[in-house]
């Protein structure tokens, strides 16, 4: 609690971090705006909210997927809060003032966990409200089914932020750390391409999908599959075109484990970096 307090104090008094943080939480609320989208195109009237995106339990899937896209805003706060400690050399001062390296890292991890918690709670509340207004099904069992998407959401954010934390500590510069994150995304893309191209020749039993899902960003991305093709409206269109989607939209337990293992590795890696380095 004390460590969390210290970190929040640091973030709170930084204007940029404060703005980004509030911006992030406000943007979460902005998903409600989607409900007001009305497209009137001649005779075709289209209201997004009435297309079933806010139906329970589908709303859990849809909202967690969309809102998770906003995570980059908070990622910037995390990367900046680490990089600043290095550029202001306040990390050195913190240690001299009697924080241990472990405590320093803990204060960051606790902050991340707290924000993941708040973010998940907000998603839960907003989805509950939006669903309550627009959902066609309001039975208790249906409302509270598929809540595993919230768990996946929390794990997804935590995994992603742990990766950011690790990169920031590794690289010490916010711009470069975020750049590296983008680069890593490209790297995983290339790796996937290479795997698709060569893997079946080398090890025929393994598909590229089976390997790539163990990569950090891909495993984080896979936690919540895209919800769009699951919409009945789109399913109908696809069926008419003779292109039925057969996709597993569920949350995979293996996937959650993979991301949690990555998170642990990133935090452990951050600690060994901190410990080994002279300041």
């Amino acid at each position: 609690m004390r460590l969390l307090g210290i970190e929040l104090y640091k973030i709170w008094h930084n204007k940029t971090s404060r703005v980004l943080m509030f911006g992030y939480f406000l943007l979460i609320f902005s998903i409600a705006i989607l409900s007001t989208i009305n497209v009137e195109f001649g005779p075709i009237k289209f209201n997004l909210a009435e297309q079933g995106i806010f139906n329970f339990p589908y709303i859990w899937h849809f909202n967690t997927f969309i809102i998770a896209l906003l995570k980059i805003f908070f990622a910037i706060v995390i990367v900046a809060m680490i990089a600043n400690e290095y550029s202001y050399k306040t990390i050195k001062q913190n240690l001299i003032d009697g924080m241990s390296k472990g405590e320093f890292l803990k204060s960051k991890v606790y902050t991340i966990a707290t924000f993941v918690g708040i973010s998940t709670l907000l998603v839960f509340i907003i989805s509950l409200i939006l669903g309550g207004i627009y959902s066609d099904y309001n039975e208790f069992q249906i409302i509270f089914s598929e809540l595993e998407y919230l768990l996946a959401y929390a794990v997804k954010l935590f995994g992603f932020f742990s990766f950011c934390l690790f990169l920031a500590i590794l690289i010490k510069r916010s711009a470069f750390a975020l750049g590296f994150l983008a680069l890593w995304q490209v790297f995983e893309g290339i790796a996937y391409g290479l795997l698709r191209w060569r893997l079946s020749d080398l090890i025929p039993q393994l598909s590229a999908e089976q390997v790539i899902k163990f990569f950090p960003l891909r495993s984080i991305g896979n936690l919540i599959t895209e919800p769009f093709t699951r919409l009945s409206a789109i399913q109908n269109i696809a069926d008419q075109l003779g292109e039925g989607f057969t996709k597993d939209y569920g949350v995979s337990f293996l996937n959650i484990t993979v991301v949690l293992v990555w998170s642990a590795l990133f935090i452990w890696g951050s600690y060994s970096l901190l410990k080994g380095r002279d300041l």
């Binding site: 210290i6 050195k92 003032d97 241990s100 410990k275």
Partner: protein, 299 residues
């Protein structure tokens, strides 16, 4: 009772092949004002970095409070300033000190007192980034004192300051030393150390050269400065005194080095008996700077 605050045992740090600190053993006792001396690059800051938990020792170890506390617990009870002040530039002085109190788990009561001590209370609501270097340095001192530390570690506290700033900081250090706080002052400015410290540790190339009182840094009995109309007869007479080691002529006077204790009264009595009268007689101790140079060059 003398209590060991800090004990270093064979502490070493290498950067590649370079040995920054080599098998350094030291003990800091409560109540003393220590000067850590050495030319630039002699390992002062590296040594402090190690005991302050920011530099990992290559070998050897150190103990705070005889091992009763872990390093980071012990650091909460001391205050330290290293090289240059590090604060959050976007926070005010008050916010920065509040944060330090959170980290050190100390009461915030003394913040006002310490800010007044360094003359920054009026600027407490200004952001750190608006401060001049002198103010930053003074804030660092306030920050180091905010937990009423049992030991204050200062690494080059007057570095980069103008003469007025240097004077202010020195006056502050003397004030703090008088209040009974144990101080470890690392510096390459010798007169700074001479004015404040009663114990000196001299480092060169990471090796301890000397540890002990300021006066005992080199075995010397001081020297006399003498002037007279007839220098030759004076010189002749002085050569006959047993305690005299050597005589040099300088600035129309004589510099007489001693190999044994000789008081001014005794010398003047001897001169009077021989009917030699001098226009100037003064006993001098070599400055710490002279002693330091002799010490580091002789070995």
């Amino acid at each position: 009772m003398e209590e060991n605050l800090l004990e270093l045992t064979q502490l070493s740090k290498s950067y590649g092949r370079l040995k920054a600190v080599d098998q350094l053993s030291l003990t800091l006792k409560k109540g003393n004002v220590y000067g850590l001396l050495g030319p630039n690059g002699s390992g002062k800051s590296t040594t402090l970095g190690m005991v302050l938990n920011v530099v990992n020792p290559t070998s050897g170890n150190f103990q705070w409070y005889g091992g009763a506390l872990t390093t980071h617990q012990a650091l909460k009870k001391i205050g330290a300033i290293i090289e240059r002040p590090n604060f959050y530039p976007y926070m005010t002085a008050l916010q920065n000190l509040n944060l330090i109190c959170k980290i050190k788990q100390c009461k915030t009561d003394s913040i006002q007192e310490k800010l007044e001590l360094v003359g920054l209370w009026d600027r407490r609501h200004s952001k750190f980034r608006t401060y001049s270097l002198g103010m930053k340095q003074r804030l660092a001192i306030a920050a180091a004192l905010v937990n009423n530390p049992e030991l204050l570690i200062l690494d080059e506290p007057t570095n980069g300051l103008d003469p007025e700033g240097i004077h202010q900081i020195r006056a502050l250090i003397i004030k703090i030393a008088k209040s009974g706080t144990t101080i470890l002052l690392a510096s390459h400015l010798l007169d700074e150390v001479e004015k404040v410290c009663n114990q000196v540790i001299v480092l060169k190339n990471g090796v301890k050269f000397y540890e002990g009182s300021v006066d005992g840094i080199s075995q010397t009995y001081g020297y006399f400065e003498l002037k007279a109309k007839n220098l030759d007869s004076l010189k002749q007479f002085l050569k006959g005194i047993a305690q005299v080691e050597s005589i040099e002529e300088e600035n129309n006077g004589l510099k007489v080095f001693l190999k044994n204790e000789l008081e001014s009264e005794e010398l003047s009595e001897k001169l009077a008996e021989a009917k030699i009268f001098v226009s100037h007689l003064a006993k001098k101790k070599p400055s710490l700077e002279d002693q330091f140079l002799t010490l580091t060059q002789s070995k």
